[in-house]
Symmetry: C2
Subunit: 372 residues, 2 copies
Amino acid sequence: MPAPLEPRRVSDHRSRRIAALLDGLTAAHVDALLVTSLANVRYLTGFSGSSALLLVSQRDAVLITDFRYQIQAADEVGDVARVTIEQQSLWTGLWQQLTQVPGIQVVGFESAHLLHRDFQRLMEAGSRWQWRPTLDLVETLRERKDANEVRLIERAAAVAIRALERTLAEVRVGMTELQVAGVLERALRDEGSEGFPFPSIVATGARSALPHARASAAKIRDGDLLLLDFGAEVEGYCADVTRTVVVGRASDDQREIYDVVREANEQASREIRAGMSGRDADAIARGYIERRGFGDLFGHGLGHGVGLEVHEAPRLARTADGALAEGSVVTIEPGVYRPGWGGVRIEDDVVLDAAGPRILTKFTRELLELKS
Amino acid sequence: MPAPLEPRRVSDHRSRRIAALLDGLTAAHVDALLVTSLANVRYLTGFSGSSALLLVSQRDAVLITDFRYQIQAADEVGDVARVTIEQQSLWTGLWQQLTQVPGIQVVGFESAHLLHRDFQRLMEAGSRWQWRPTLDLVETLRERKDANEVRLIERAAAVAIRALERTLAEVRVGMTELQVAGVLERALRDEGSEGFPFPSIVATGARSALPHARASAAKIRDGDLLLLDFGAEVEGYCADVTRTVVVGRASDDQREIYDVVREANEQASREIRAGMSGRDADAIARGYIERRGFGDLFGHGLGHGVGLEVHEAPRLARTADGALAEGSVVTIEPGVYRPGWGGVRIEDDVVLDAAGPRILTKFTRELLELKS
């Protein structure tokens, strides 16, 4: 494993992130922000536990967690935020902190990351303060990855690719999708993946046409399309990869559809740029697939951001108006799905550098015919 | 794999569940309930997809999902609910359905399963109706498992146990926690697990004292305690198992702490009863551990319900007043954690039958010393 990051530098990164968030607080007219999204907490402080509230104000950042994370929180957060350990409920800790930090009247909360049940706590136990819903204050910062984040996604992508290579070497006719998932997931662990960012999709034959198939007891037959869509995780950062292969010899139909999807992926991966809208990026691949006559069979968006979460901003889709930030990392994953026959999806992760797109998932897009 | 369930019977089960929920709606003084928890949707209708709203009223039950799930929803839901496919947003579909079903004025929603962002939709686009927060209307029904549900949890437990046996046969000094996780997860897939209900915990040596360790690059050393806490899933139902072993020869200290935890598990698994409070069940194990002098080192609750979710009602803990329902399935998982040294946890899944508790996770609780 490569050496861990040098702590001081990470802390500097994180201090800059909190400074950037403070500008957002001013623009949103709130004195403080209650951060309840654990991915946002991790981005701002480095804390990777599963139980935390983070309160950020112009004067202070305080992370409230429970006794299970006492040692871990101190290690991970360093001097970026104060850490307080709460014996009872994180909410009790929140009221205490709000009372102690002077000058806080209006507090923003994350509308997309707060359950109604907890919103009621704010209205009742927290009624001394004025609460204001906010959207995407931290997510917007997360769109633009720094060099360190890109490096971690690149490492996760390398883990995913090595696991894919090892898996394809073991696939045989007669294996079940579940068995292939087991080979893949073991290889991901052996290569160092800290987890599975989402349930692996392994779909054979006609099941490859189901955009949300999970692995099942279905068996691979000779000549099947086999679609694998899976992730890897390194220091919290995710990669997300899809490849579709043929087990045995590809038919002419399979080759035709594969070539359409491959060319759509290649065009989009080559022509996507920071500054372009998510809609225009989507249109590169979609336009090509439509011209080849398969537009009706590409029923989802072209891609999504990837980072601390496997689905995050920005979106690449027909309804995505926003401009793609320089430094964002997005998936490019066109697909063509013919119900009852099968589907092909080819997905890469691409960073939008100032100089142009750079592919992080370095694996051939040529059609592979596995020995059956 | 055992044969799938006979569809007609499942549909009957589900109709009975909806009938039971309707009694809850009457008691909560709502005309209808908007179900947003996907586990609750699955319990009531059988639908296993990742995108759905369910509206249940005295007249009707309607599942709203998107085009990706058209075929799957029809297959899974049968005649328990109407299925509508929404091209745009599930919420648009909800307003249409609410308008079409006569007599609906007050609609309950699940306060613990609705984000503030979506609550705002109800207040704005849904302002024609009166919305009332509800808690646990479906979760309460789910506590009492029927014979079919217990059978699925028992199958998941058998998958978990077979995978554990295969894994322990492969563990060696020098392997990393990640490698052990890979062996375990591949075995789970080979045995038919549909997924991983939570990130596997594999913790060696002093790391076994961290109640929420995930698998890491740490290597197993001779004489280490090795703690494995993981799940399996069959037809949506989960099992949750923990065993702690010694790789090599156990020391006297390890044996002493292991015996305390084993005896606490055995007493609780033997003496727990439906009708008892969660607090009293917790006290069986906790009292024993306290009498042995390790009470300060057992910092979490004794257990939790398990079913369609790996953590669900009821809770077994010092703060759990409610009576345990007959037919509930709970984990019994006492632990003793000595910081810097290591920890032992032994976890079984137990169904609370009328005749007494029955253990579903059939694996020895004796201390295993693996060949190093």
